[in-house]
Symmetry: C2
Subunit: 516 residues, 2 copies
């Protein structure tokens, strides 16, 4: 059933239709801030020394199809997932046991764990913890299935991005579907376009409300005399995706009336301090453009420090530790970031051994736990011999799998028939750094057309990933949840590899969805 | 008095303050669509073949000061000015007599007049005429004056631009003045910033409402069977200022729910037609991306055809004539465009001879006419000997004047001591192409800092020009006015010439105003 829907979608474009859409989208993106800073391979530093140029975010010309039931299920499960990852983060002992195994093979995980241990030794001064999450899924539609099911690709606990821009893509596609008013002809006719627009997307509102809730829960200034309070976005230098982040700070400033500042991760130690004389350890920010005005940071929102490349020197680890030991609410804490590692996802999905999922969700009804478990793709630990190693090393079963580094934001995946040789090429002691996951089979006939940031227009078969945003604010000392919300989504669409794991046709675009 | 205010404004910026403002403005512009396509000298066609790159519009870091009384007077007079230019446009005989003199020396005016004559011969089928105007002023503050007065620089009757972007600059400066919420520190302290933001700017709403009024006044389709109706923006190819225009079409589409299409002036004859069989001469538009769907154009909004360079061949004149003879309401008609020529401004300001201003405004009370006349800078005809030629040729009086081509949108001005030699270098028969105007003396100490589109930041003494937007819809056959509104403004700020008519320091920026 579902395949035939994808076969005839999207409608074909003749050259005039394509020209019109590309031109309209290009201009719309610039008018509405659906933008990125251009990649250095497109605009060199020399040709734009002051960095003023911007270009459209990569975006599909059409919204992609997505099964309505899967979308609704993903939304329904988001607050359950939020609660699960808060509960995992609260169980430091359990988390520690899993991390211990990795510390000797993974410097990054090891570094993060050390940050936690050093702050734990001194004693944490902030019990509240904020998560801004995105759970990513695919519609799983193997040829023998009647209806697609929802399978989780990953769960992001740090720097969950694209909430700001994905709301705009939803608006772009909705406007194209209904323009001009009364006589929609921006797209060629297609039956699925009749009275259909992408569902509401409240990502900006939801994520900002999460940050605002933490800001408010922080309470009054801990400084004497009291200081004005603010939220601090800690960001990467040369961030190309800055307009995605600015959508959140604009909402915080204009709607919630909260001061927001941006600070490069490399400048954290230059412009923030924790007064040694104050046992509450408030994090004080002095804006370089107005150093006489000090602000107390209620909430540190990390849009950096998620990947090993964000830590180029000891000073970066020092900065992370500095933030972690402060009284500011962290989004996320180190523990919450570690809870997002791929290995946690694998342990939860493990069918052999103790039922971790059920114990983390003791207060949740079994039916809901079962629905959550339904979204897990089978995945296996490779640390010791067993089912995982068998499936990975046997060429016949390997082709149904993907090998992923167990930490979030990590390197490249290894696909299918390449898995056995890859594993044999690395020391067996390092196998535990990898998770074997059964391949999710997204609709095989899905297609779209994408406008890249350099203006190239490419079309072909695609794989779409749907992310659902959620926020949760909890007390790490007792697990009490102060706020738990879901809202907003992201569709990201990539060109399908030409030769199944070979050369990519070259696009990864923001998208929106039409439900069917 | 006023000079001392300008002396201490804007506040000095240290490097950190300047960095912060420039970075904030650069990013704000991109997030909010305060953008232009980059000039070819900045981004070549080869380095951006698909034309996706955009950059911030040139913009001042601070709002400029402007006398409150002058601003209020300019707003109060706008509907009077609208009415005046509608009345002039209705008096084809009077207009014709003035144009006649120019036809032999000015091919452009001659061409426009011919378009009018040819349509007149066939008979106009549309009596309604729409004006979207901008009256430009300076605060005139000669050293001997106590308070600055308002002097008109020019009155634009075609393609009055920057309404879309100037509303955004107002928003940018207002946000900077009040951010972060509760603790405004984006700008260094200055007493004029206390509880002061630029006045409301409704340019987008006002200009769009004017177009919507015309669309509605057009009435039902004149085609059989009836066609859906639309507004057509006719624009230049390679328009860099496109986002200014899109602000109006977005408002028309989203608020007024009116279909709007954009068409290059070079494509008018390809995609529009007037059925020979229909004596009402409806203008039919076939969108190239959906040629089976025909629209009837109620209103043609020209953002082109205002300068000689817009007419590169006979085909462009044919396109203009084609639009003019159609039933669509033109914004503006050829006659209305001609009414905006500089020579009309000069004839109205003429103190010798008949009082044209009073006769065009027979229904207006004399006090209002006097206030209008107060905004005229003294200006003189050079077609025959008299006061104008005396002032222009005498080096002592020439230094207080500027020589301007008499047509709107024309070439370069000639300033001060350069005037006598310039006039002597051209045949006396061509002197009538020029208007001599007494120099307006804007506040000598006005300063600002500007961020150019290429990212350069320049500061220095400036000259500011305030434009007030107005719209009027009238019946050309009887002078009846259906709608007459003012609303919205533009501040444009230019670097003062270093050597009074010599090399410019190099910026011309969008700006906003702080009233004092």
């Amino acid at each position: 059933m579902s395949d035939s829907i994808y076969t005839n979608y999207p409608p074909e474009l003749n050259p005039a239709q394509k020209d019109f859409l590309v031109k309209t989208i290009k201009d719309w993106a610039t008018q509405n801030g659906l933008m990125v800073r251009p990649h250095l391979s497109f605009v060199s530093k020399e040709s734009d020394p002051y960095g003023v140029l911007a270009t459209n975010a990569p975006v599909t010309l059409f919204p992609s199809l997505f099964p309505r039931a899967c979308f609704e299920e993903a939304k329904a499960l988001q607050t359950v997932y939020n609660q699960l990852y808060a509960a995992i983060t609260c169980n430091e002992e359990w988390l520690g046991k899993i991390m211990e195994d990795l510390i000797d093979v993974d410097d990054f995980i090891s570094g993060l764990w050390k940050v936690h241990l050093s702050v734990k030794k001194e004693g944490y001064v902030q019990n509240l913890s904020l998560g801004l999450y995105r759970s990513d899924y695919m519609a799983h539609a193997p040829t023998n299935a009647n209806t697609p099911s929802l399978k989780q690709v990953e769960f992001n606990t740090i720097s969950s991005s694209f909430g700001g821009l994905s709301s705009l893509v939803r608006k772009l596609h909705s406007e194209l579907l209904t323009s001009p008013p009364g006589y929609p002809i921006s797209y060629p006719f297609h039956p699925l376009f009749e009275s259909n627009v992408p569902p509401e997307n409240t990502a900006v509102e939801t994520l900002s409300a999460g940050l605002a809730a933490a800001h408010s829960a922080y309470g009054p200034s801990k400084s004497t005399p009291a200081l004005p309070t603010c939220i601090l976005f800690v960001v990467q230098e040369n961030e190309r995706n800055i307009f995605d982040q600015l959508a959140l700070s604009r909402q915080l400033t204009t709607v919630h009336k909260i001061p927001v500042f941006r600070l490069h991760s490399t400048e954290v130690l230059d412009h923030t301090s924790i007064p040694a004389s104050n046992p509450s350890r408030p994090l004080i920010y002095r804006p370089p453009h107005s150093p006489d005005t000090q602000f107390e940071v209620t909430t540190v929102y990390l849009r950096c420090f998620y990947a090993p490349t964000d830590y180029t020197s000891e000073r970066d680890w020092e900065a992370r530790t500095h933030l972690e030991r402060s009284a500011a609410i962290k989004c996320p804490t180190v523990l919450n970031q570690l809870a997002g590692s791929k290995i946690i996802q694998q342990v939860l999905a493990e069918t052999a051994g103790p039922d971790h999922l059920a114990s983390f969700m003791a207060d949740t009804d079994p039916a809901t736990i079962a629905r959550l478990r339904e979204t897990f793709a089978p995945q296996y630990d490779l640390s010791s011999s067993g089912r995982g190693r068998e499936l990975a090393l046997n060429p016949e079963t390997a082709v149904n799998h993907v090998l992923k580094p167990q930490r979030e934001g990590g390197g490249n995946n290894v696909y299918k028939s390449a898995i056995p040789d890859f594993l044999r090429s690395i020391p067996e002691s390092e196998w535990k750094r990898w998770i074997l996951m059964e391949l999710i089979r997204p609709p095989a006939e899905a297609k779209n057309v994408a406008l890249r940031s350099d203006g190239e227009v490419l079309s072909g078969k695609v794989i779409g990933e749907l992310g659902i945003y959620g926020t949760i604010l909890w007390d790490q000392s007792n697990g009490n949840v102060l706020q738990n919300e879901q809202g907003g989504w992201l569709m990201r669409t990539k060109a399908k590899d030409v030769n199944e794991g070979g050369v990519a046709t070259g696009f990864s675009s923001l998208d929106s969805i039409l439900l069917y």
